[in-house]
């Protein structure tokens, strides 16, 4: 309790508050622009957090992430185009509500649901992480290997319609991760001194999450507003907070969707997009009038937006406790921690409890800021979708290059980011998803190191692995997650 209070005080420091306000605004702008994601904003600004204190940097990035996922719903509601993938389920009812002239009501439900979802998952992060961190101390190399494999296999199977494309991406990421030192200490595939420690994670992230997105924007000209846009409907000043009378009818939906979102978020590889759809389906199933869903039902918007934001913070649980990120955005948070010399995993809770609790309590403050900023500025943010691609693209490219240079102050990194970005764009054009590649590149060293230790420790008695239930469960789940898409396609 004392740690929580101390953490809250630390999170409320004026510098942290400014960082979170700035983060919320940046996140909302990036989230609201279709084609750009919170991950892109976090990646571009990640190198800048190097000059911040660790908790300030992490809170800044978390504020961007949370606000980005929320703001993705704004174009989903007014344009029928989700700002980020996480808001895909919001379009189902959000746009239908806008067409009925109820865009304000939908936006009001969206900001309230996002805040509640993030609040509940903040509680999950606060109360589930410490016991899970203690539990994770029981993890040996076999369990860590199996868990990391499970996270990667889930994202491989869920990120693309084609399992082959997902697998190519995941294995490419694993291959990238072999550059640098092998677990034995020998150097592999190192032809320039800049790559002696492998590919810098931040450069890989900048390359994969800014350049392909910008090129994609230029190619598709996706910001062009259609005639059916409902941006003008929300242009007048109005109260964007939910009315007290609405609480009674929606309170159960808020709670159920928060629970679903928090649970899905904890699963590695799943994330806000899946949480949104699962919760939407559950809300429809539980509704007295399921036929109204898809035709402009406010419960549909609440279910999708509450769950996708709930999945944001809870996805940090495996990342912080085991050091194994379950999503690309969590990778960025881990990269920020590593940049400050902090090692995610169970020891983080022992050695840096003050920082951990400052972050845990800070997410509630960031959430409150998001509610205020979101309520005041949703109508202005809706207009951001009118920014032209020709203006936006050069700005993002300049910031990406500034970010790439700032990591190690050298031009090699800038060229590397551009090359990785162009490769990423090529893969994207081939319908190969980039998320498994990033996860593979991050999880690669963890997988290989633990596999190496496992082989060494169980050499000659490999059958003993069968007696380790956690290992067996995660290996079976990994196989199942790869087999499921194959079985599904055979059936359907």
């Amino acid at each position: 309790m004392e740690l929580m209070f101390q953490g809250l005080l630390q999170a409320m420091h004026w510098q942290n508050l400014i960082a979170m306000i700035f983060g919320v605004v940046v996140g909302m702008v990036f989230g609201a622009i279709p084609g750009l994601t919170a991950a892109a904003a976090m990646t571009i600004l990640l190198p800048l957090t190097f000059i911040f204190k660790a908790e300030m940097g992490v809170l800044f990035l978390l504020a961007i992430w949370n606000a980005g996922v929320y703001a993705g719903s704004i174009p989903a509601i007014v344009l029928n185009i989700p700002g980020t993938g996480a808001s895909a389920a919001t379009t189902l009812d959000g746009y239908a509500l806008s067409k009925k002239g109820m865009a304000k009501e939908a936006l009001r439900a969206s900001v309230t649901g996002s805040t509640i979802g993030a609040f509940v998952s903040g509680l999950a992060l606060l109360f589930l992480s410490p016991p899970l961190a203690r539990l994770s101390l029981m993890f040996g190399p076999a369990e860590t290997f199996a868990f990391a494999l499970f996270g990667l296999s889930i994202i491989v199977s869920l990120s693309s319609d084609s399992l082959i494309n997902g697998l190519i991406s995941g294995f490419l990421g694993l291959l990238i991760a072999t550059v640098g030192f092998a677990p034995s200490g020998a150097l592999r595939f190192v032809y320039t001194p800049e790559l002696i420690d492998g590919f810098p994670v931040i450069i890989v992230l900048i390359g994969l999450f800014t350049i392909p997105e910008v090129m994609d924007l230029i190619e598709r000209q996706r910001l062009t507003i259609t005639k059916n846009s409902c941006v003008d409907v929300v242009s007048k000043r109005s109260n964007f907070l939910l009315k007290i009378s609405d609480w009674k009818s929606f309170s159960f939906n808020f709670l159920r969707s928060s629970g679903i979102g928090s649970f899905v978020g904890i699963l590695p590889g799943a994330g806000p997009t899946i949480a949104g759809f699962v919760s939407y389906n559950e809300a429809r199933r539980a509704s007295k009038n399921p036929a109204a869903f898809g035709k402009g039902e406010i419960d549909g918007v609440i279910a999708a937006d509450t769950a996708n934001n709930a999945a944001v913070l809870s996805s940090l649980v495996p990342a912080l406790t085991l050091g194994i990120p379950g999503s690309v955005d969590a990778v960025i948070i881990l990269a920020a921690l590593t940049m400050h010399g902090l090692l995610p995993g169970p020891m983080l809770f022992e050695r840096n409890a003050d920082l951990v609790y400052a972050v845990f309590m800070g997410v509630f403050v960031a959430n409150f800021i998001m509610l205020i900023v979101g309520s005041i500025s949703a109508r202005h943010i809706a207009k951001i979708t009118r920014v032209r691609v020709s203006i936006l693209s050069p700005i993002i490219l300049v910031f990406a290059i500034v970010g790439a240079f700032a990591v190690r102050n050298n031009w090699f990194d800038v060229f590397l980011a551009i090359i990785i970005g162009l490769i990423g764009y090529g893969l994207k054009r081939m319908n190969i998803p980039l998320a498994p590649l990033v996860l593979g590149a991050i999880l690669g060293p963890i997988l290989e190191r633990n596999l190496y230790q496992m082989v060494v420790s169980y050499s000659g008695r490999i059958n003993e692995l069968v007696t380790r239930p956690i290992f067996i469960v995660f290996i079976l789940l990994s196989i199942l997650s790869i087999l499921m898409p194959i079985l599904r396609s055979k059936r359907g």
Binding site: N165, L175, I218, E219, V398, F405, F415, Y452
Partner: protein, 141 residues
């Protein structure tokens, strides 16, 4: 067209994996086995993808009109990085933004002229002077 570029892409992955496999030969078994397994799996997957793409190949469907803009953006970005090494970050950023605006057919000339120096000034004040972010320093600017 899309299918053709897909099979070309699969072919490129295939070629890269063969090169990676050759490069991994000098490694000791202990260090090379893991990457070699990954490369072999990738070889298999890219062959599968290649075959699938060839089977699906149809006649040209769409001629992408925006592709030249993407190529221009890629070329300008590479030129920008080279010019930043030579001319310095600030001047080359202004030039990059102006040329990008023109390449992407931005019609507002006032914006083309005013926005790039304004953005550079913003980056200079906020990131360089206030946040102390290191920027490339060259002989000119």
């Amino acid at each position: 067209m899309a299918s053709l570029s897909n099979s070309v892409g699969s072919g490129i992955i295939l070629l890269c994996m063969i090169i990676a496999l050759v490069l991994s030969f000098p490694l000791k078994l202990r260090d090379g086995l893991y990457p070699q397994c990954i490369i072999l799996i990738l070889l298999l997957l890219s062959v599968l993808r290649f075959v699938k793409d060839i089977k699906r190949r149809r006649k040209s469907i769409d001629e992408d009109k925006s592709l030249y803009k993407v190529l221009a953006a890629i070329l300008l970005t590479i030129l920008y990085v080279f010019s930043a090494e030579l001319l310095g970050f600030w001047l080359s950023t202004v030039l990059f933004m102006i040329t990008m605006f023109i390449a992407l057919k931005e019609k507002n000339w006032l914006l083309i002229i005013i926005f790039p120096p304004a953005l550079v000034l913003f980056i200079y004040i906020v990131f360089y002077k206030f946040l102390y972010i290191p920027f490339p320093q060259q002989s000119l600017f």
